[in-house]
């Protein structure tokens, strides 16, 4: 049995320690917001936070997450009101939406580190997240908007 803390809730899971965190979250815990896209850390659809840092859960063994704080898209905010979530809605960012859990989780770390990211900062932080629908221009715009919203809220993310 492995003890996991996901979105501030404790789970005991009967998993092989080598099982990627992605599949534990999706198939054993039942939180399906985190997506499978490539399985080899190429697309970013599976990004979650491990102690606040973005990790690709498809290549992160569950044993590495034991006793740590895991945050998934479901736990990013209580009411879908993180500045990024608000900005994503404002700019109509998603098309199919499949990659956006990962996009938002990557962007959340960027926004915490850099309150006012430049386009270059955004390119650097988001280069690992693919979007086949091609929403990239809107992702950029929404991250800038979220930075504005965050400032108005007093900088708490």
């Amino acid at each position: 049995m492995i003890n996991l803390n996901v979105n501030h809730k404790v789970y005991q899971v009967d998993a092989d320690p080598n099982m990627p965190l992605l599949w534990v979250i999706r198939d054993l815990i039942g939180l399906t917001g985190t997506k499978y896209g490539c399985g080899v850390a190429q697309c970013g659809a599976c990004v979650v936070h491990l102690n606040g840092e973005a990790v690709r859960s498809c290549v992160t063994k569950v044993s590495r997450a034991e006793g740590q704080q895991v945050t998934t898209i479901e736990g990013l905010s209580a009411q879908n009101n993180h500045p990024l979530q608000v900005a994503w809605n404002e700019e109509n960012v998603p098309q199919c939406g499949y990659c956006h859990s990962g996009q938002i989780m990557s962007a959340a770390v960027l926004l915490r580190e850099k309150a006012d990211p430049t386009d270059q900062d955004i390119d650097d932080a988001m280069a690992g997240n693919l979007c086949r629908c091609g929403t990239y221009l809107r992702i950029r715009k929404a991250i800038h908007l979220a930075a504005e919203l965050q400032k108005k809220e007093g900088g708490s993310v």
């Binding site: 917001g33 997506k35 896209g37 898209i73 994503w88 998603p94 199919c96 988001m126």
Partner: protein
Amino acid sequence: MSVSEEAERLSRRNFLRMAGIGGTALCLGLYTSGQAGVKVINQALVNAASEGVELAAWIIINTSGKVTLICHRAEMGQGVYHSIAQIIAEELEVDLYGVDIQLTQGDEKKYGSQLTGGSSTIRGSYKNLLKLSATAREVLIMAAAARWGVAADACYAESGHVIHKASGKKFHYGELVADAVKLAPPKEVKLKPRSAYQIIGKGNHRRDTPMKTNGEAIFGIDKRLPGLQFAAVKRNPRLRGKVKSFDASAALQVPGVTKVFKVVMGVWDTDREGVAVVANSTWAAIEGKKALRVEWDDTGFEHISTAEIYSRHRELLQSSEGLPLKTQGDPTGIISQSDHKLDVIYETPYQSHSCMEPVNCIAHFQGDKVEIWGPVQAPNWIQDYVSKKMGLARENVIVNMTFLGGGFGRKAMPDYPYEAVLVSKEIGAPVQVVWTREDDATQGPFRPGVSYRCEGAVEDGGITALKFRMAGQNNDHWRGGDNGKPNRSTSEGFLKPYYDTIKNISFADLPFKTPIPTSFWRSVYASTNGFAYESFMDELAHKAVRDPLDLRRQYLKDERSQLLIDKMEEVSGWKSRKKNDGYGVAITECFASTVGHIVKVSKGKTGGIHIDKVWVVVDCGWYVNPDIITAQVEGSVVMAIGAATIHEITFKDGMVEQRNFYDYKMPRIMDIPPIEVHIMENDEDAGGMGEPGLPAFAPALTNAIFDLTGKRIRKLPFDMGNAGMEK
């Protein structure tokens, strides 16, 4: 049955019939609050259905006034979940953000075709949706007027209520539905003019966005059922090769793996063989698949290679006239006599759809019926295919549509639902079959790579003849076989007004076959034809010493084309550009929308070519949501950048050489130029918008590179890092 009952029954039937177009009709269903799901309890409608009246239930209003609208098509990013509701809300007079929207099941008796392809949802549905929504609103008004004992035209509808103008009295729709369904509706309903729209025509917030920012949206791969098992399938890596034997022992050692067996799945009329591994989690199934040992039978399929495909294309193009699709005048004669002619070959690659959500499907086989849940574009085709293959009654193949993490044509194929059905039947439990990214990349189906021979003649600054031949796989051969006819899409993408002004034109198809499965890929043959035909138009303009946009203006004489070209010139500053400044243009039409691209390029700071800007002008006629259209065009440009400059599927020894995003690379955020989208305003019939934004990008880009460097690119994909630098 009494006379009055008979009259009432007939009036109901009349209501149901008149509201519909093309054999479908409105169902103003009722369901009681507190009940799970949607349940029609109005007996009149149930009776009507049993009498053979076809119902189309897009609108459900319960007695408390809650309005549920149905999205009858696949939502795969193109926005119909929102835009169908946007249409209905306008004429029904309800708050777009106060209604529930539900995805539905495959049921063409209710909804007509649900094939979400050919950019058909809005253009195929909007007239019916407007009319049935307005009809529903009118009967609700009539019901209220009758209650108050006033004339219907003394009342109006607004935000889910009927209001009596003089007194200000109001009922919410829920208070009126029971009366409304008993009324015979008006024979004619007046639809709003575009100028009166409050909801249509607005780029408002998509209803599906919030659920896509917090993990709530359920894609096929997210669907869960009690007792659900998971499966992965190891399929022969040689396309259409077979299974000789397999050793399951190592796979069965993987914790969680429960069963291993051979499956023969159908790809339209052909078979694909593999071995399924069933487990209690997706990961265990994938690990079991890795451990599985299979001996393949590759007889007949070991030699397919990309080099061979394209050399066979060239041989055909040089040696055969092919099957004529269209011929006017005598292009062959004119070209043979001309001293100013061109004869060139264009080549386009095979492409993978690479939806971010890999192919997957749930099936629960239950003897005489099967229930399916998945990301599917064509539920009715799945019903057709699975019922035929499994010997089930068609209505016992129940297909539930989830959100799709991308479709692009791939998820219109019934191969993967059928595979899931076979696995579920074998294990006697519900199962989710998940394709890995490697399965998705290597198994296809793919967009066919197509080669073109383009010939033309110019005289006195004008075009005298065009002759196009294509060699490439025909998607139709996978559905119904080769009927001996030319590919019906040989001229797809080519602008129809050219037929009126260029007297000598021909299109011919050189039938070409391989065992590689192919299928629709966003904008289908326009995605490759457009590159060849619109690049060639640029070559002819250069040959004739003409401005390439002026040349198009000369031959596209219809008013819509002229206005489109005006707009393209205006927004891009085309006329004030300098010579060889790196501007390129292309215009294509498919699925009833014409789209023009202008691309501006420059030499990159570290060599190669940089895309400075893309301007796109769209004429799609009547439209619902300009922001969704803009998003579709932005996405089409990104997808076209990938297909023109980054990735291709290649074959060696009968196998696909790419496996995942590390060798089938995708455009990333830093690769995307500014894209400016403009939509023409007119009152023409609606055209599609999910696909038509794609085909003109690649030729506009390569035409721009020619303008800048003098280097003509006739083969995709090409490397932007070296473009224009080769000798």
